[in-house]
Amino acid sequence: MAPPEAATPGAGPPVLEALGVGKRFPGVVALDDVSFGLRAGEVHALVGENGAGKSTLIKVLTGVHRPDAGELRLAGEPVRFQRPFEAQQAGISTIYQEVNLVPLMSVARNIFLGREPRNRLRLIDFPRMNREAADLLDGFGVRVDPRRPLHTLGLGTQQMVALARAVSVQARVVVMDEPTSSLEPREVETLFRVIEELRARDVAVVYVSHRMDELYRICDRVTVLRDGRHIHTGPLEGLERMRLVSMMLGRDMAEVRRDGVTGFAADGHDAARTPVLTADGLTRRHQLDGVSLALHAGEVLGLGGLLGSGRSETAKALAGGLALDSGEVTVAGKVLRRITPAAAIDAGISMLPEDRKAEGIVPGLSVRENIVLAALPRLSRAGIVSRARQDRVVEIFMKRLRIKASSPEQKVGELSGGNQQKVLLARWLCLEPRVLLLDEPTRGIDVGAKAEVQGLIDELAGEGLAVLLISSDIEELIEGADRIVVLRSGAPAGELAGDAVTEPALLEVLADSAPTPRPAEEAAPR
């Protein structure tokens, strides 16, 4: 497999190389003369803002896109991958940014798709496949019934399955595009351990992440892209964090240093006395078990918990996206009967969903249409939409959230992940909600945009909005929230308020509520 003589990581000859690669999409130059070299046994970070071209470079490297210019070399030989299939044959294994597995198929079938273990009759040996899948996942600290359909698992677990699949082939290059964006801390540790193993086996790893501390922990070298251009490649050791950020953003180091990296202000908000929204005993079979919380105007309430603890369900239930068995939701003193998304919106509740691809964007529609989607009735008279009013709203929000699109008419499906997220945020903000439910609002968003979104959250709370913030990023939760409610197995497990909102305190509650490992996924073996 990998050349055995490469003793020092990242010092060998390049296994995989891109030379002067260019790639354009209609209206966008995604990559412009980018060169990139990957050595055996190194972990190579690929960083840049949203839309910098990281995923595009990866897709070019792995045969999803064909480059318009430049060439690829594998172990020194020029190659042209026509399909991802060929890249995989050549030993390049990839975890793409959006979890790319088949939702309706079982966990085991996903892991072994295309290389299923066979029995003597050359037929697939399912018992063996399930056993091996279970063992493999066990190694990643994930215990799920491998026969469960993938879509019944949370995003995090799905990500671990993708990881298991990618690593279980004997590859000489493993590419990971934002593998940690939906993982919890403990699973990130598992992932790092796996990466160490890969490094020890002289496998080259490409690692994309927006989380700076991760890069410094695990990566040897870093390549920075900005606006589709190559900016820098070099060892990570000794590279100042501020300098890296400034290269990504293309701005002065001094300026970056002054502004700090998270967008939250240090002080809390002055919350109102009476809650805008109270939830009482929200219950749904198997998912929620008596969740109660109160949300005040002008505060950011954090919702903590491990993966699968029911945070997303709580938010969804409040927004009418999930039918409840029992429980009561009161907004501004009025009890909501039958909560439907429309009723919730009418009551002033807006929710940014967790899975923006599946539940958020309408990829084929333009930025403009995606922004005004929920507000359409308000922007129309007698059922006829007013283009002028739309344009005004869109302009305001594109500016305010700094949405990067070639024009309001660009299809949202073509935007980078961070910009898609901002479009969704704009959709909800233009409804002028009283209550904003944010489910992982900064997942997959670059440092710059992340700070912007965080700043925005602060600002919105300051303007008197009640914000519910769900985040797997502990730092974000601590800094952003005034108060934190922790969930465990769909039930409230504790609350932190005031000065108690600190990382150690939160970790303690979480640890208490942490049945190892991944309780939620231990499905009924059927």
């Binding site: 990839t94 790319n100 939702p103 309706l104 290389r115 598992t190 351990r193 073996p525």
Partner: protein
Amino acid sequence: MNAPRPAEPTAASATADPKAAPAPLSATPSVRAETEEPSGRERLLGLVQRQGVLAVLLAVILVASLLYPSFASLDNARGVTVQASFLAIVALGMTLVIITGGIDLSVGSVFALGGVLAAWASQWGLLPALLVPLLVCGAIGLVNGLLIGRAGLAPFIVTLATLLGARGLLLAFTDEGATTYLVPKGSAFAWLGGGTVWGFGIPLLIALALFGLGGLLLQRTSFGQGLFAVGGSSDAATLMGLPVARTKVLVYTLSGLLAGLAGALNAARLTSGVTILGVGMELDAISAVVIGGTLLIGGAGSVSGTLWGVLLLAVIQNLINQIGSLNSSYQSVVSGGFLVVVVVAQRYLARGRRST
């Protein structure tokens, strides 16, 4: 084993981090733990839901047998099953196509074309009578597959075009339908359609064998898994390195081949290449597949469900005849009504399953 996985991470992670060691399941006070012990009733319900069509089929058969004694006769069963076997073979190919998220509207025309070609070629013996239709119909399927898999055209419209095209070929081949080719009486080929083994018609046996093979192909081979993957998410399948285009080309070719084979067998049974066959057959096949629980959006389905679906359609038709002198217009109304009842019943059974 063609998929070796690294043993190291597994071993290492299990020992390196004691926290990651699995805790006993019972120690987890999870809300979801309640689901993990299905009661007997739930288990029965699960079975009914998984085999929804079969349940409906058995119920219909039971009721019909009670109401109409002649329905339950062996003769009737033989007639119904043999007659259904041609649709079954076509629907088998359709099942595979629909699992990939596609659709094949051309099967009816291809079925008819296969029959005409088989009857024409039967004058030279059994082998040509089978090979000629398989070659031509396979080629039509291949064209479908290439246009869909390689050129990326929508299956609905491509196969709609080949529906016309295959019918056109059939007419061209029969002087606009004026010529009917006959299968020589008593030939081996004729036996293939009309013969019986232990009282079972040969077409039925062939159909059952094909369903067995189809089931194995779908459930127990990489190709079959690939069909599910392509239908479940074509993009994901591509990114996972599956040969998506090739899979599509193959599955439409297979559908063409099966439709052609069914047509040939049918011609053997009718001992002639009838030109007016197969109109609307694609819709029958699709109904059977969907009633059988296969999702039209692809990614889920089974071959056995289709078999029950075909039988259900056949039984319903038989039942309408048993009811007696219904005017032809009422017959359509009743079949339409039956269709609604069956799919709605199916739907509610399946919904119960999905939400648990």
